[in-house]
Amino acid sequence: MTTTPDELGERAEKELDRQKTFRERLHCCTAAGCQSCGGDAVKAGLKQRVKDAGLEAQVEVVGTGCMGLCSKGPLVKRESDDALFLEVKPDDAQALVEASPSLSLESRRVDMKTHPFFAGQLRIVLANAGKVDPERVESYLAAGGYSALAQALTTMKPGDVVAEVTKAGLRGRGGAGYPTGVKWQLVAKQVNETKYVVCNADEGDPGAFMDRSVLEGDPHRVLEGMAIAGYAVGANHGYVYVRGEYALAISRLQTAIKQAEKEGILGARVLDTNFRFQVEIRIGAGAFVCGEETALLNSIEGKRGEPRPRPPYPPEQGLWQKPTLINNVETFANIAPIISRGSAWFSNIGTEKSKGTKVFAVAGKTKHSGLVEVAMGTPVRQIVTQMAGGIAGGGKVKAIQTGGPSGGCVPEHLLDVPVDYESLVAVGSMMGSGGMIVMDETTSMVEIARYFMEFCMDESCGKCVPCRTGTVQMHTLLQKFCDNEATEADLDLLKKLADLLRATSLCGLGQSAPNPVMTALRYFPHEFAACMKPAAKGVHS
């Protein structure tokens, strides 16, 4: 089947008209977070109730992507008045479906416009969360889906697309923040018949689940971004490399690819043009290092996920030595809005050097946890105290951790730091992929440093000497601190090893492995001093 760009609009209209026939549409979150606390039962319960009450023509129950407030799931959104209901149980079905008054349900109702968790957010990447059914392509079309792809294919030259992305100022959302447009340009200028577009969905940082939510909630958005990228750089083949742990995301993505192929949105003639683009899924098998782009390429090729030395960089020699564009899920999810709404709109959001928004997965000791999307430049404090509601039970925030095992901690007194790439690096942490773990006064920073070093030690591929053996030695030293057995000499050695790993490791995993230790030492030196052997304590101070 083929779909022309004009038919795309008609399909969207048709779906919108269909949706308007319902008096009420109830959106049930079907992302993994809500699913694991009974979201499926709630959805089934609502559907059953609709059927029993004979309201099939008036009320529609739809599944949708992650709405963000994961700690209060299962969530259900009522479309007519944008009311969000928390911790919904199958018993609430009657009240929701028949709009009958229920005091219990009312007490769990929040207004998304005023609730502090949602009020300060700006949703671009997550715009479709709570609106689109990830399992139906029509639903995505109705929300304006694939119109950006149609626009790019019919009104823009590949070079224009690259220029637009460059002008938007979008930077890679996977961690380091490399300008996306520059990367696209590098691949576009390579002369080669075969090029690849790879979507890095190997979200490995513990405490980060943004990409999973996007894949589960809006898989077509990612595919659209990839197809636009393929057109822009001249690639006809795309791979999505997804973590094996994300079963639901994999299945949603498979469904989405099948639907898009069936509709002629992906395949030999994309939207009835001469552009060919196919997407395949590759499933990871549990190796954090595969988030590193060259290791990921080795893994797609069916090899051990060991990083390759760079240069050559993937835009020149990537997958099977061909020019390869690698971006992560959130980066691709930003593409369609940039094309539809223009680079000027996008570059107006955020700070001078960091444009647009960033999705954070806030978790840890906070009152609320879940996904928030904020404009770049938003102070971390606003996310932690306003949106996440501070520490559950009213404790004091001690520090937050961003960037996972490659990032670092930001102490409470620096929480006014704005979220942008440079500011976070300046305080010793990094943007990372967007995990934000909040720690309170009861958390030992030495123990957290040890935890991250253990992580790096276990996940080191072992190829290069400093990372393979250095992480083991650093972990041993940190364990000594945890056991109150450390000496001044140990502290000195720890710093020397940290410097060695940073300077000599082959890939980002080893180079950044000392970061959590270094920031902990920088901001909480007294905690390390307190962990030294009684005899050694005097020497420090």
């Binding site: 694991s36 513990p206 098998a285 840890g364 000791k365 946890s369 773990i437």
Partner: protein, 160 residues
Amino acid sequence: MGTTAPTVKDNRVKLLERAMSRQGYASHALIEVLHTAQELFGYLSVDLLKDVAKKLKLPPSRVLGVATFYNFFSLKPKAEHTALVCTGTACYVAGAKDLLEASEHRCKRALAKGETPKLTVQQARCIGSCGLAPAVVLDGGILPRVTKAELEKKLDDLGV
């Protein structure tokens, strides 16, 4: 090797063969094939790896290298029940260590008695359910915000 050797005429051998042929016996499909093999047989025995190496025309040591690189692949059979304890940061600060110890204690207890443990304990780097920390995936079903006592009870119910 074990009872799951591919020489045993069963349907799983056929299914694995089909998975390989669907990939055109391409050597770069090794990880996909190992995924399928583990799904079918529960673990990757030496005989299975040998068969895969032969069919995909790969050196056996390379197949072993890949199979031992990734955490997902298990070269030993799993016990009747599995507890996957998430030790991601959010779960860790919420007490995943206690949950892990509680689960591992079951295995140690069985081993001390000279029995084969009925539980395989695995650690996940992060299952991405940080909003529900700490989380344990017991036999495929997730236990959100689980306490040590709750987990102990679940394990008791399973008789492990």
